[in-house]
Symmetry: C2
């Protein structure tokens, strides 16, 4: 039987725990779930020391366990019995889990059955023993300790772990070559920094060796493309301890890329009759009390205090409440609808995030934000127009391969979680689906993934090395127009409440730029490239010609430099390649004579000699067409 | 003798105080300085009531006093004697001033002589009495109270005020038709809100009636152009109590103007090889401790606190410290200099300001900010390039008439007020002056007007109704590069400290836009106009043609609407005029037949019939040339 990969990852975590206890008998085990690319287990090594030098040893033990075809045997006991068993096993972390389960603390996370299940890794037990009789036997015998058990059984009882399951049948269902220990990290017991710090061992695990190798290769590739390293090397952005490491600053070269993306986004919106607006970066606390953000997002918000005005504010964590104020200052009629506001604006969120990660996890988030105010009947057409923008934008960046869209709708079992009228929800969900269909989107309906305030479309795109990123989003909102009491006059001159559609195409300019640096591995399409052309004279006496060519290219707004240094030709070309300059133009006697340039394409490595005019024309079309 | 207008204003304040005391005998007088367009005096009316209905009466008394040719007589006494005199006069506010003077509180503001001067308004005294003998006589006699004085003298002693002077000789030097009471306001005694609230009477005063009338006319005109009223009527911007009245939000129409100005500014800078950068809107307190702003500007700064990160920040009150961080992340050599950063960025300042004034006094200030890092020897050339931008920019807005520039240099008497080396200051001051000369600027050297950190050029421009505004600025800074320890490698591979030049062209986009709304009285040059064209079909059956024309114009990115309402033609034209639409195109049978449009130019009131193509071409050149 082939089990889902998540289940295999889970059981490899058991196998790893068993292997660690074999090698480090004193170790205490905490918890070990699966992850997106494998699993981890948290241990208390107490006085023993572990490092990644021990990985080989542990992996060897794991392979042996897997090849032994150990069977997994489950039995269930009461809370009291579970604690007794765990007490005998000295597993104090598990005892605490049972106690907390008893106290009802996990009742939102776990299904409460009143029973605790254990899984045994057993070796060479007769298959008949894997039945309820065996379980009864074990349960009964347990309290008389191991020595009361059949000698072989004790010998072959390899590992016991308290676990909610489900389980694979045997380690025969696992692949001894499908996993690899990844790294050691530290984690507080139960995520509480007042608790003991545990040692977490991460591992990769996939269906088979091929998939594992593919993933390891991708990680290797990702490391080379790391936007934090490329960002520094190519001088795209910087951070300063004096400012705060979570608030990156754009260097001129990074700003060329960022502005090109921002301008392109505005072009796409301007063509579809969006209006630009501008709003300040803070607002009085009252705005967020009205919008409800101060209740729901308080911890993520930055408080602001004015010493002269003695007023209290929040930095804006999103733009919508501000945009509602702009709408509210008008007296619109149904003829004016829909109203479309666009603002690339920086919002600030003090989010809990893990390690510092350049541009992809920052506290300053510049959203290419927009809000549409429309009638329920207009949702489908407006969403269609937004989807067009999304498709055009991501096609330009070469990201339309392998994308998919989550059509996030209500969980039919918990209607109480959602605000707004049922019939409006139905129309909105249907409108999103119809728009998705009409645009030929590769979408999946995801029940329960809707926001409490409305259904949405979330777009997932795959980058050049196969990593998936959630980027664009289109969200209906029935909540905020209600809280801000927005309205327009309908055909009967009555007040009608508009639906708000939140939409972001790139999501956040910072994060999108980080992803694009890695997607393009630092070699950007020409229209984005900070340094498009570098002229390299083969000797000093050709520098004048190089500067002449530079002037000609600059007249067409090409971003071009001349390397007039006294370095050797090879060194100069190498330096240009180091900076991923798209076109390196070598000029010497031949080129001066023929008014030409010797062109090296950094990405394709192609070389050719071209007339200056021909080269300029080629650049121009490459830029205008935004060629990849 | 003709005295400076400020002196006349000052003495008209005395005259007003005298007139008020004549009409309200119980009133106590506080202080009364001159202002930019007149003067004011603060009074304590105690139980008496005053309103602008009393202005006529007071003005009449003032005119009488002026026409009486009262002489001003000064005498000086000691602090003790002054208090005795004021005690007899029941002038408690003045007594407090003497006490504070005695305590040394005002020593930074006033020259301490140990003597207090009084001025008497006297009538019909013999001119010989206006000499030191008279003063001695008065001083001696004072203590025996008024009844000891010569009968006529007492009768003709009209008014006494403690005042530092200087003074005009007589009310004969004043013009009875040169002033006009303006309004009543309230002010705390000595600007302290814990003190008593006084009644302040403002008045206008000029050299003569003609100048006064011109000023009153200008105010009348300014009222009509008030950008707060036009901003609301033309839907350019809005404020929200939930956001904060000092943080305006841009409506789509206002944002068209703002973005056009911002894009134009970037064009001017891009042409001169500035680089765009981007920085976040807050930074850790440490940044401003290093830059010294936390010491000098603390009260004007907004504090920020992150609830999750538990970090303390300030919203940025200026961009320079951030830009220093971008510079500092590079290893520049002298070959890279100068470095030019440009960032239109919003800074936040919690400044004490008077009444709410739309866009011109806000807490969100979007500076078209830029910082140059250069060698001392490069100041002149770089300043020259900035001046070119300033001239081009203000010429485009029709503001180059009657401008002047303050060349703000050190006060040679207080060299200790300035930081940095004397020879660097000398070169910098000379460089600014040379650049001003080379650019043919109308400049005046203003000793003592330099910042503590360097000399500067401040540009004053006159708007369409003659009001002067300080707008562009170019400032050398020797302080911040030092505090942030910036350097580049010079020819000898040694660290050299750059000079920083702060420069802003429009100053602040909000304030500049407010001024431009009033300058253009809401009728903007076509390239800025939110609604450039409105099509008005004379009847319903010409609406299709109107929409055809609209499409043709939109293909050229013209901002155009169609009024397809059922209103009368007159009403539709009036509505378009209400919104200051630049071109109103009336279309009917003739126009459909001839593929033409009947064009009304809102500003010139000219009317003409044009072919669509001809009209489009006219618009295009008007926009490209940024015609006024």
């Amino acid at each position: 039987m082939n089990y889902p990969v998540e289940l295999k990852r889970h059981w490899l975590a058991h196998v790893m725990a068993q292997a660690v206890q074999e090698n480090f008998p004193e170790v205490k085990i905490a918890t070990g779930p699966y992850t997106d690319d494998g699993f981890y287990y948290d241990f208390d090594f107490a006085s023993e020391e572990i490092s990644d030098k021990d990985f080989k040893k542990i992996e060897k033990s794991m392979k042996k366990i897997v090849s032994q075809n150990q069977n997994f045997v489950m039995f269930e006991v009461s809370y009291e019995e579970a604690k007794e068993i765990l007490f005998q096993m000295w597993e104090e972390f598990k005892i605490e889990l049972v106690e907390r389960l008893e106290s009802g603390e996990f009742k939102n996370k776990e299904k409460i059955t009143g029973r605790i299940s254990f899984y045994l890794n057993v070796w060479k037990w007769k298959s008949t023993e894997k039945n309820s009789a065996t379980q009864a036997f074990l349960k009964e015998k347990w309290f008389f300790a191991f020595e009361d058990m059949d000698g072989d059984q004790v010998k072959n009882l390899k590992f016991i772990d308290m676990c909610t399951g489900p389980h694979v049948e045997s380690t025969a269902n696992l692949d001894a070559n499908s996993f690899k220990l990844a790294r050691i990290a530290w984690a507080y017991w139960l995520w509480n920094s007042e608790n003991i710090q545990l040692t977490r061992i991460y591992a990769f695990a996939f269906e088979n060796k091929e998939q594992l190798d593919k993933h390891l290769h991708m990680l290797e590739e990702a490391k080379k493309r790391d936007h934090r390293i490329l960002g520094k090397k190519l001088k795209l952005f910087t951070t300063s301890d004096l400012v705060w490491s979570w608030l990156p600053l754009m260097q001129p070269k990074g700003m060329i890329i960022r502005k090109a993306i921002e301008d392109y986004l505005w072009d796409l919106h301007k063509n579809r009759w969006y209006d630009r607006v501008w709003t300040p970066h803070l607002a009085k606390e009252e705005l967020y009390q009205t919008s409800w953000h101060a209740g729901k997002y308080l911890e993520d918000m930055f408080s602001v205090y004015g010493w002269t005005s003695k007023e209290n504010f929040f930095l804006k964590p999103m733009n919508c409440p501000h945009h509602m104020q702009i709408f509210a200052d008008n007296q619109f009629s149904y003829r004016d609808m829909p109203i479309r506001y666009f603002e690339p604006a920086t919002v600030y969120r003090d989010e809990k995030t893990g390690q510092l990660s350049g541009l992809t996890r920052v506290r300053s988030i510049t959203q290419d934000d927009g809000h549409l105010f429309c009638r329920v009947s207009q949702i489908q057409e407006e969403v269609g127009a937004i989807v067009e923008i999304v498709k055009e934008f991501y096609k330009t960046f070469g990201l339309l391969e392998g994308y998919w869209v989550s059509l996030s709708v209500r969980d039919p079992e918990t209607p109480e979680k959602y605000i707004g009228w049922n019939d409006v929800w139905e129309i909105a969900e249907k409108s999103l689906e119809e728009a998705a269909k009409a645009q030929g989107l590769n979408y999946r309906e995801m029940p329960g993934e809707a926001a409490f305030y409305g259904p949405k479309l979330d777009f997932m795109f795959q980058d050049a090395i196969g990593r998936e990123w959630q980027l664009a989003t289109i969200q209906c909102d029935f909540n905020q127009p209600n809280r801000f009491e927005l309205s327009f006059k309908n055909e009967d001159n009555e007040d009608e409440q508009p639906v708000v559609i939140h939409r972001a195409i790139s999501g956040s300019l910072e994060r999108f730029m980080g992803i694009m640096i890695e997607h393009f591995a630092g070699t950007f399409p020409l229209w984005l490239a900070p340094e498009q052309v570098r002229l390299v004279p083969v000797a000093e006496n050709f520098a004048d010609y190089a500067f002449d060519v530079k002037k000609k290219l600059e007249a067409q707004w090409v971003r071009v430099t001349v390397d007039a240094s006294t370095d050797s030709l090879n060194k100069k070309v190498r330096n240009a390649e180091q900076m991923h300059v798209n076109y390196i133009l070598v000029v010497g006697e031949e080129e001066v004579k023929n008014s030409s340039v010797a062109v090296r394409n950094y990405k394709t490595k192609e070389q050719s000699v071209m007339k200056i005019e021909g080269f300029t024309e080629m650049l121009e079309s490459e830029i205008i067409e935004k060629k990849l």
